[in-house]
């Protein structure tokens, strides 16, 4: 089971307290009716599904109840970092370097 650090509770808790909530940093189009079918497809259906560092949303359902974001390596399943919703997307290359160091 994953151990997840909630950036609001500032505590590492077991995965059972959390709900995965899909890919992070996908902005909902402000004016939905004016976008093309292609843009809607991109927003609604297309997912990057990376083998490597994924940015994803989690919700601490059985805790503070809040949504936050995480960067996780989908090959090792290790979390690299978690951060509050609304914070900018971290740089994947920098994170990769950081997680490589942590492994040493």
């Amino acid at each position: 089971m994953l151990q997840i650090y909630c950036p609001y509770c500032k505590e590492e808790r077991p995965e059972l307290e959390f709900r995965h909530a899909g890919e992070a940093h996908i902005a909902r189009p402000a004016d939905m009716k004016s976008i093309s079918d292609e843009e809607f497809e991109g927003y609604f259906f297309i997912r990057s599904n990376p083998k490597g560092i994924a940015f994803e949303r989690w919700r601490h359902v059985h805790g503070c109840g809040r949504f936050f974001n995480a960067a996780r390596d989908t090959v090792s399943d290790k979390f690299i970092t978690t951060y509050e919703a609304g914070e900018p997307k971290p740089d994947a290359a920098e994170l990769a370097a950081k997680s490589g160091e942590a492994d040493k």
Partner: protein, 417 residues
Amino acid sequence: MRKYSIFAVAREAMRGHKGWPQQWTSPEPKKQYDVIIVGAGGHGLGAAYYLAKQHGITNVAVVEKGWLGGGNTGRNTTIIRSNYLYDESAALYNHAMKMWDGLSQDLNYNVMYSARGVMMLAHNVHDVQGAQRHIHANRLNGVQNEWLTPEQAKEYCPPLNISKTARYPVMGAALQRCGGNARHDAVAWGYARGAANRGVDIIQNCAVTGIRRAANGAVEGVETTRGFIGAKKVGVVAAGHSSVLMEMAGVQMPLESYPLQALVSEPVKPIFPCVVMSNTVHAYISQSDKGELVIGAGTDQYTSYSQTGGLHILTHTLDAICEMFPIFSRMKMLRSWGGIVDVTPDRSPILAKTPVPGLYVNCGWGTGGFKATPGSAHVFAHTIANDAPHPINAPFTLERFRTGRLIDEAAAAAVAH
């Protein structure tokens, strides 16, 4: 190809089994093929087999990063059924169902297809309504499916607990009698042998690392760990890795990859006569011919390529199995494993041409594509050979996520299937 028969077995028995030929060879990749299939699972090997057998296209390579059948084909719980809700799905899965019957003869390879019946339990009013809706829709489509009362379900599967006070009471079940199991490895091996003997090169331990495209965008071949291999047509059949491969050609996919786990018990004498599925509690169970109980669990909640998955997913499934079949509560589990399944938003596969000329994709089978192996391989071979879909897979496009013409088995089942 040396034909397998009772006479061959008898002859070899007298010679100490020294005369069996290799089932397939491991050739060096050629410079150029007419078609390259990426991924030697059942769907990929089957496509190569039908390309050679039905379309006379034998200059084909199947390129596999590991060993053939080592992906989800060799990791699944082998449940075969075709009682899906929508017309498009019914046509596709029933096409496969008809092919299972007779596949061993066609391949001259015993895939051990056993129509022992698949029973799907209903535990609450919603389940009952959903199952009956499926049964009616299936009948209109000529797909077998029938309703059983709890008592009939118990008669069909005696270990089932139908006590009214059970944690997950059984309110009835949908039974597809022609459903059942097949030997997963034998499906991969049978297709591999059939394809190799018709001239297909199966190249194992060779990962595709890139898809090369010409200036006009068309496919030219694949970069691999053993060098460049040319082909004007490339079919990607890589299950959990489909997003990764399609990205190599610049195509972004409506897919997410999740771990899915299964486990087997110690082997015991025949006790379990059919396949039982409970979507509501995420437990699937049958007994293999070796005697092991084969148990399937649900997916993890997060995307992953780790081929593992959380232990709590398995224990949750075993809790449910022990509630439904108290007789198994003291059995020991021998081993568990995971596969990576590629899930589409509507839980229907993508079997289609792509925006890239010469690039075809067969993916998105998620948690339930083993059952479709022969049908999927057959229509995919047609799609590649003709550069146009077979009528059966025509609705399973990549564009449906743009046009909105979904085949929404996800909404129909509300769970993994």
